[in-house]
C-alpha cells in the first residue's frame, strides 16, 4: 500500500548510499509534494545486483519548487522540477508551506 497520496508534503532523504540509486543528488534533502502515485515497481537498487527487487516499492511523482531546490534560482517562482521517487526515499514533511 502506498504510504503517501496526492498533495502530501514529503521530504527526500538526504542519504548517500553506494550502489545503483535512482534518486538524483540535487533533490536529496529537499522538500516537495506528491503529484501522483505511479504504482509499484521492483526496487532498482536491488535489480542492479541481479536480485529480484521484491517486495515492489510504491513510486511517486514528486513535484518540487525550483526555489526550494536551488535557493538562487533565477527563473519564475512558479517553476517546478518533477522527479519520480521510490517510497524508500521519502519521509513525511508535514503541512505544505
Amino acid at each position: 500500500m502506498a504510504r503517501f497520496g496526492p498533495g502530501d508534503a514529503v521530504h527526500v532523504r538526504a542519504a548517500h548510499p553506494p550502489g545503483h540509486v535512482r534518486t538524483p543528488w540535487f533533490v536529496r534533502g529537499k522538500r516537495g509534494v506528491v503529484a501522483r502515485v505511479l504504482g509499484e515497481y521492483a526496487n532498482p537498487e536491488e535489480l542492479a545486483f541481479n536480485r529480484d527487487g521484491l517486495p515492489k516499492l510504491p513510486l511517486y511523482e514528486v513535484r518540487l519548487r525550483q526555489h526550494d531546490v536551488w535557493p538562487d534560482y533565477d527563473g519564475s517562482p512558479r517553476d517546478t522540477v518533477v522527479v519520480d521517487l521510490y517510497e524508500n526515499w521519502l519521509e513525511p514533511a508535514g503541512e505544505e508551506r
Binding site: 535512482r22 534518486t23 538524483p24 540535487f26 505511479l38 515497481y41 532498482p44 513510486l59 513535484r63 525550483q66 531546490v69 536551488w70 533565477d74 527563473g75 519564475s76 512558479r78 517553476d79 517546478t80 522540477v81 518533477v82 522527479v83 519520480d84 521517487l85 521510490y86
Partner: protein
C-alpha cells in the same frame, strides 16, 4: 571520368576521425558476449543486425502522429494522457513494456523532459535521442537554469507560465503533448503532424506555423 581531382587537401573535409584506437573495456566486453551468444546459437548475427535496423527505423514522426491525433480527437487525447502505451498501440505503435507518460502543455504549464542520471528517452516510440539530450551540459543545466537553456533553443516563455522539468529518474519515459498552434483550424492530421518536431516532443521548442514564403 575521374570525378575526384586531387588538387585539394583532404584534411579540410568534415569527416569523423577513423576509429583506429584500441577497444575500450566495455566495447571488448560487448563484442565478446555477443560473439559467444551467437556461437552458442541463442541468436544469429542477422538477428542483431535486424534489431539495430528496427531501432533505427523508429523516429520522431511517430510521436508527431500521436500528437496530431490528440489535437483532433478529444477521446484519444484523454486516453493518451491516461495510458500512453495503450493509446500509441491504437495507432499501431508498439511502445514496449516500459510505461510511457505523456504530459500535456496548457496555457499555464510548459513541460520539458530530461534524464539527469543517464539518457532515458521514449526510444521505442521516437527512436534514439539526439546527442545533446545525452550530453552532460543539457542534463545538468536544464534542471538548474531551464529558462536559459530554452532561450538557447530559441524558446522564450513568459514568467506567468510554470516551466515544469520532468526528470525521467525511474520506471517511466516521458513525452510532451504540446499545445496546438493557433491558425490551424481545419488542418488535416497530416498537416498538423508536420508541425511537431522531435524537439517539440522533448519540450525545448514549440510547434510553430512555417514562416510565410517571401513575396
Amino acid at each position: 571520368m575521374s570525378g575526384h581531382d586531387h588538387d585539394h587537401d583532404h584534411d579540410d573535409h568534415a569527416h569523423p576521425p577513423d576509429e583506429d584506437g584500441p577497444l575500450t573495456h566495455y566495447q571488448a566486453l560487448e563484442v565478446a558476449v555477443r560473439e559467444l551468444l551467437i556461437e552458442k546459437g541463442l541468436f544469429t548475427a542477422d538477428d542483431v543486425r535486424a534489431a539495430i535496423e528496427a531501432m533505427d527505423a523508429r523516429n520522431p514522426s511517430r510521436g508527431a502522429e500521436v500528437v496530431a491525433r490528440a489535437w483532433v480527437d478529444e477521446g484519444f487525447r484523454e486516453r493518451l494522457l491516461a495510458d500512453g502505451n495503450a493509446a500509441c498501440a491504437e495507432l499501431g505503435f508498439d511502445t514496449g513494456a516500459i510505461r510511457l507518460a505523456v504530459v500535456e502543455d496548457t496555457e499555464d504549464v510548459h513541460n520539458v523532459i530530461v534524464c539527469t542520471l543517464c539518457s532515458c528517452y521514449p526510444r521505442l516510440l521516437l527512436g534514439l535521442p539526439p546527442d545533446w539530450y545525452k550530453a552532460r551540459a543539457y542534463r545538468s543545466r536544464v534542471v538548474r537554469e531551464p529558462r536559459t537553456v530554452l532561450r538557447e533553443f530559441g524558446t522564450e516563455l513568459p514568467d506567468e507560465v510554470e516551466l515544469r522539468v520532468h526528470d525521467s529518474t525511474a520506471d517511466l519515459r516521458y513525452m510532451v503533448l504540446p499545445r496546438r498552434p493557433d491558425g490551424t483550424d481545419g488542418w488535416s492530421e497530416e498537416q498538423l503532424a508536420s508541425l511537431v518536431t522531435r524537439d517539440a516532443l522533448i519540450g525545448v521548442t514549440l510547434p510553430r506555423l512555417p514562416e510565410p514564403a517571401p513575396a
